[in-house]
Amino acid sequence: MSETVVNLWSIPLLVVIPILTAIVLNLLYNRVRAIRVASVVSAAALLVVSIVSPYGLQWFTGQPGVASDGSYTYSTSIFSWKLSLEYYFGPLQQILIFTSSLLLLFVVVISTRSLKKDFGPYVAIMFLTYFSTVAVIMVNDFYHLWIVVEIGSLLVAGLVAASGAGSAQKAALKYTFFSALSGSGLAIALALILGITGYANISDAISFLMMTDLGNMYNVLYISFAFLMLSWIYAGGLAPIHPLKSDVYRSAFPHATVLLQAQSKVMLVAIGLVLLRMFGGLPFAREAMLSISLLTMILGVVMALIQTDFRWILAYLIVSHSGLVTVGISLGTPLGIVGGLFQAVNDIVYMSVLLLCCEMLLYFNNGTSIRSSGGIAKKVPWLAAFAILGAFAASGIPPFNGFQSELILIQAALGGGLPEVAAVILMVSVSTFIALFRGIYSIFLKPSTNPLPEGSESASSPPRGMPIILGILVAITLILGVYPQLALDFLTESAVKVVYVPWVP
């Protein structure tokens, strides 16, 4: 009875700071300098909090713990970790939140430099998107999971529509219509799980499923699995939704897409781990997840091969590499999960490099189409160098981080007795190389065919500090490629816990 329940101080900070910043930025509507200072300070504070925070839990409400014979108990030893609504901050959460905080800082710096007016609400939406990213990886109950996924999809629509083009508004409308469907499905899944197990907490629900024989109720569990899977597909943009999701990626500003892709990959990891912990024992559950991942990888990379615009190529490649993340998770072995999580971290970083290079093309080039450009390498050599390095990392060439995670994924697929999956992963990485270098060759390396008149594009000067930001990101890809153990130390424990003790967050 002497055991006390201690909440972690950093989790409320990580959740509340972005929301408060968003409110303040909304109020500051158009004061450029104030918005710039407030947003950069806030993003830096979030980065520091994510680095220095210890690991722990945050509870919102209490409930009696359930003992192994089904009776209720209020004993503190169970009470201390079985609480209904909770957030958990652990090593996996730390590395993903650190990566998104870094990206948020960079994106805020870029967007406050490059946009000219009315960007208070826009930056506020960015902070809220970051909030949904951070919250979805920390939640350990279905209720918050549902709310965060809903908020996240509405924010995606807002961030995309803010770019102002007609196609962007169309993409946002389609995405929101679909969010209505999948959100309803997620609500029904939540209600079914609550009805079966009686717990909103994921840990409680899993231990209930392990202790109880459901009998006829298994069918209800399958239905809730299908609806949760629908929201997983939707939040991460997997196979049937990928046309809508790639629409979203390519019609937002590229710097906004950096946050969007980070959000969708973190959601893939979070909901995927919940699916694996909760339903991993069901027959055909992992096979369904695996088949969708394979389909996503191939469809994404094939669609990327036949595009003729660098933005569209990147959009489909992001979709395809989401499939790489989920292949690892749905393999279900510790090695596979480590590979999937590591791939998520790497993917967020190297796709950001490529997207920021794409953003720079809007300043230095006449659009991002393959056909109407050429000769950027002569004009801006550093940009070409960064784009090529990013493409190397994305296609899994040795000294970079993409190689390490794909190696782990291939090993896991071979170890799981599925060499075909390993072959598909190899195909995807080779085709990524082809697709990216089709774009990079014609935009950067090919001699310019129709030289632009000098000074026609200098209406808005590119944000300063861009080479530094790109340099830091490329350095991260190199460091993670040479010393993968730096990231793997964070991920291994979480992966092992998911497989062997799934009820522990």
Binding site: G166, A180, A187, L194
Partner: protein
């Protein structure tokens, strides 16, 4: 007269609402009609969730002064469903607002509410 339980009937109504909502979102061509279909869909989900928690012959889950605490868990309706529904209503309103804003913007740009013209798939 055959006694049909209220719970079964509301389940039926909820599933009809959900089917009508999804069919409306799929087959109706007008964007505002699609929006109304979405509100019907979310109404149907809400009704299904509320009727999940219904206990036949039960009482409202509010512990009134003087009521017996030992009978309360047996008689009171479940509160899980309604707890979700309250959030779902709020989410439904915000989604409706965002959809309406996007529809207004698209109407200003394209001058039509026909989904087959506005949301047409574009091939590069």
């Amino acid at each position: 007269m055959i006694e049909v339980s209220l719970q079964l009937l509301t389940f039926l109504a909820a599933s009809l609402l959900i089917i009508i909502g999804i069919a409306g979102m799929l087959f109706l061509d007008n964007l505002i009609k699609k929006l109304i279909s979405f509100t019907l869909l979310s109404d149907g989900v809400n009704l299904a969730l509320v009727s999940l928690g219904y206990v036949p012959g039960g009482i409202v889950p509010i512990l009134e002064p003087g009521a017996s605490i030992s009978d309360f868990p047996k008689e009171a309706a479940l509160i899980f469903g309604p707890g979700i529904v309250l959030t779902n209503i709020v989410i439904g309103v915000s989604t409706t607002a965002i959809l309406a804003a996007l529809i207004i913007m698209l109407y200003k740009r394209y001058g039509t509410l026909k989904a087959s013209k506005v949301l047409k798939g574009e091939m590069e």
